[in-house]
Symmetry: D2
Subunit: 361 residues, 4 copies
């Protein structure tokens, strides 16, 4: 029995909000639907998909059969305005720019799961995404939706740039070290391994079963678009410019990102001391678990949940801090974090819709 459920006895129906999901036929859209099905205060009133318009959600995602009569509609922004007060946008980057601007401009609360409003510098956005940012004044109003760092901003914001999956695992793994200034910021190596759902739901033979299964490879070495996002947030935490080596790899699993981080210690510390810093900082976070010394995370233990698990090791032989973080890329790395942000924005219990334990095995 989980305490929250009993405490919810006093909930008021007036709290229920109408929610639209723009881009609901991909994995992050499907995951929003799955998670919000468990949410007592969110009612899905519209879901869009260009390629699946007219089809029922259950035709595209048989596991979402509880949305009995929910049908995909095209992204007709004006029409949607009247249907919901809260908008999740799970559109491709680029396509999200204008939609965000429209809904936000029309006084709707918006959580954007694309990369379009994450980079505060439009020049950096253009450099890495190859597109100009057309709505810089809106961009300035976006809060970066990592609650463990920006909770206060999120509370007040009407536009959230929901973090990327790799940045979530990397930033949470480094935040306490940077805040406490215990590492040499020129030495950071971030070696990440992601499940295949991170590539999205699409017809691409590179992600076909027989290509991915029993395989493992690095990709986008030094060039992955999450690099500037990671660097932006690490730099903000450190108060100085940080450049990192970030290498993503493709894991033959459905879900999960394990990130192994290396940084030289600038001050000699042992594992216990660093662990103590981490445990203090995350002590009250509902979704971050710092594991005891000698225990390290496994993506399987966070599958389907919004938890981030972190393990710490100081290698005394090399004076290196090694941090390992694990998240579910579709939950804490995308849709779960988005719902967490919604809960904060709306004043709900932060864990609403996200109370379940991992599906293991």
């Amino acid at each position: 029995m989980e305490k929250g459920l009993i405490m919810k006895q006093g909930l008021k129906k007036s709290k229920v909000i109408n929610v639209a999901i723009c881009g609901g036929s991909g994995y992050t859209g499907g995951e929003l639907l799955r998670i919000l099905h468990n949410h007592p205060y969110a009612k899905i009133t519209a879901v869009t998909s260009e390629r699946s318009a007219g089809k029922r959600v259950v035709d595209i995602f048989p596991h979402l059969h509880k949305y009995e009569d929910l049908v995909y509609e095209p992204l007709d922004k004006k029409r949607l305005l009247g249907k919901a007060e809260f908008f999740f946008l799970a559109l491709p980057h680029g396509a999200s720019q204008e939609a965000v601007n429209f809904f936000f401009g029309n006084k709707k609360r918006v959580i954007d799961l694309s990369a379009d409003y994450r980079l505060v510098d439009p020049g950096t956005y253009k450099e890495w995404y190859g597109l100009p940012h057309k709505f810089v004044s809106t961009l300035k109003k976006a809060a970066y939706g990592l609650p463990e760092i920006y909770r206060k901003d999120i509370k007040k914001a009407w536009l959230i740039a929901n973090p990327g999956c790799y940045p979530t695992g990397a930033i949470l793994g480094l935040m306490p070290a940077l805040k406490n200034k215990i590492i040499d910021i020129s030495s950071i190596v971030i070696d990440s391994k992601s499940g295949t759902s991170g590539a999205g739901r699409k017809a691409d033979s590179a992600y076909s079963y027989c290509e991915v299964n029993e395989g493992f490879k690095a990709y986008g070495i030094g060039t992955h678009r999450h690099t500037p996002e990671i660097e932006q947030e690490l730099s903000a935490l450190a108060g100085e410019k940080i450049i990192v080596d970030f290498t993503p790899h493709l894991l033959p699993v459905d879900r999960g990102i394990l990130t192994t981080i290396y940084a030289k210690l600038s001050k000699a510390k042992d594992t216990a001391a660093v662990l103590s810093l981490y445990k203090n900082i995350y002590a009250n976070e509902p979704f971050v678990r710092v594991l005891d010394a000698g225990i390290f995370p496994n993506i399987k233990n966070v599958r389907g949940t919004n938890f981030c698990e972190i393990g710490i090791k100081v290698n005394k032989r090399t004076n290196t801090l090694i941090v390992v973080s694990a998240i579910d890329n579709l939950v804490k790395g995308a849709s779960g974090q988005a719902v967490h942000n919604m809960n904060i924005m709306m004043g709900f219990d932060e864990t609403e819709g996200l109370k379940h334990l991992a599906l293991f095995p």
Copy 2:
């Protein structure tokens, strides 16, 4: 948003029951803990494990970290009597016989997930399990916990024999056909494929990753112990003795049983007509979904849920009815069905703790 949650506003704290789980370090025990974490009226007050006594649940199952201070204890039956009013027993067959008898005899409600109280004929039990049944009078009081067939009995029972995983998929797949007497009962072939968690959590090189992964095989052909359980229930439905060919196979997945059933039609019917019989019988069942013509189940769509999905096809060329059913062997095939039974016994909403959609992908 899921309706049940809002309706629960009126729940009474007095409804909460104290629950003990005997045998809580295996996969079905872990799954009971996972599911009951979502249950508003069940409070886990004790969990036992001989080999892990003294360890915390989280040491054995890191994903169950919300049970912060729950510690495994040995199966000291007398001591446990004072700790709970409802007992789930996830012990090995044979070991369960006496424990069930003890708790039931001491006026506790008991759900036995082992095979010990499933076979109504002690002779059949001895023949297939190689053990005598020592508590025949208790055996007679057990209800077979398949709600779709025995809901009325379950409501009144204090002892439930929770069905086996294979029998659950096979019986639900055949029940409407047998009740409507549309098949030749001498022609039934049941070809089942189960995920590896069905073998339990144990150190056995036959179930090690490298042996199972990328492999597939049949096992226990004609000799699997679920055979008499399937036959007992099919015979009861048909009103005459049924003997079946039942072949289990080992799938390289964590969870799920897909069962493909073949039987000659005794009356010519087309797919639509048979589908109609199935849809009628299961129309009000919260956990059975009969799929539309041309759609067949995939274990991935029921993963982590208590749903049983059923697809129907009549092969006119051979006059054969082909039924495909899919369940999660650990949920509808074990712990989820057990919680469903608890809900029925206690008068809770049948879906309490079991409201979530499948984790896909």
Copy 3:
């Protein structure tokens, strides 16, 4: 050390034949290249692919890097005539009809891995494949390339219709039973489970990693195009018309087909007696292994090889013969069997190129 290699000391260079592969960028084409790399008498002189024309083989299949300068070319039939004397065609059905006719008509030896020349009755071909057969006189000259049944025909043939993957496992599993007339031919159920490479190498989200992994489903129930091929060959073996229930399933593995076959015995026999029939018939077959009583095949044990392993069980309770066969769908079910056929046609040792043991684990 494998005997054949030493015996090959006396081989004559003059035996080497020039081989072309039409359709070399799919999995069966790639597998032909992999296998023929081990073949002492086959020299690949051309490989075609429309979509990859101009690219090197290693660009499309990095594991085939030993074909250093081999480049895909378009299927220019006339040009190819001068390049090779032996043609493997791994083209889509329909597309193969004319190419086969052309090369065969120009006095080339041809092995067609498509379905176009497998069905002796053009009407059946049209019914199941939706296309007329334009080259019926050529069709009549094709031998069905299952060496265990048609070795003599293959020896003399210049055109081989290489069997489908499912038919190979099903026919080999039933041949001794049908030849010995021990089963009721109206009762045959063939339940097959295939690895995902059977779907080919293509961009189709239905076969993407996240859709297939951790899933399992039936498909094409009663309508799969391998049904008439299976029935044609079983009927020929029995000497009377056979109609079967055939259900394919999609396994989350790269390779392998396990086929579980059920048929009522027309004469009472025990496992040992049936096993003896099977062992006799396959005693001298280099690629069929009939396993001892109580041992059943696993696709993992034949992975990457041309072996078919067969296990036998008589279920005395139901008077049913249960046969389980395992093959690698890309080897014995496609490219390996094609090379075996080439060896027979050319008078090579039948096992040339196919001598290796399975990759396990």
Copy 4:
């Protein structure tokens, strides 16, 4: 067609050697049997296993059925002396010390796949393996069996310490950089990911299917026993003491190690320049492939082979060299490299038994 096979026409039967495998029931032992089945000059005359003594090889490894009458025997060293002239030892570390010393002392050629003779300093061995080394004079005569570095020593040696799986991938990935002194040796990070067969064939619930599948984790961070072996060889290459951060991870695949290596460049170089150094050094190596710029290895492309594939990237933003290497841990990381060493020792063509291409998919 593969050239070597034709050139083998002139082979002399007198070249055939009798080979014993001590410890033949684990994965590396099984892999030696699989590979040597393809070897024209090696005849297996004995294979040992304590737990499987008296059983046939095919009872333990069904895929090795071509060794029809080969039966496991206990490790009776004296008896084995008369049976073979070449010994592969695939025993656990510790157990190998004495056996190696015995066979080597009795004038047999020995390749030890354990860690017992890899570390030249007995003190380091004791520190990391917790055991004293009892045969230091024999230890001094062992050559480290990495042909790309020690080919000349291997040619003359009668005792080979076959490298560990992780060290093979790490050392080959760093050798050209160290030889050319282009990196800051204090900055080396080695992040490795291994398939599960690396854990051996054993009954351990930590490696059971349901624990490993869909999971991913780091283990032995900073403490893995391959660390001193890697450091010994890197130090030898650099001519000065090197200490590294080495983190192994457990991949949910059967086979393969991908190693991602990071080191700061001590001299500014671009990818092309570093690639050129690597290509030069490995130009004549039969089993190392340095991939072109922009192409990175995937373990799937080397599965079942003795190849090591290497990709190179210089990250100009961070002045870091990133090297990715891929091997099959059971082949290049164990048994294949052992056979390569045997070929060198015996003067066989270096690729004998190892000529096959990867099994893909």
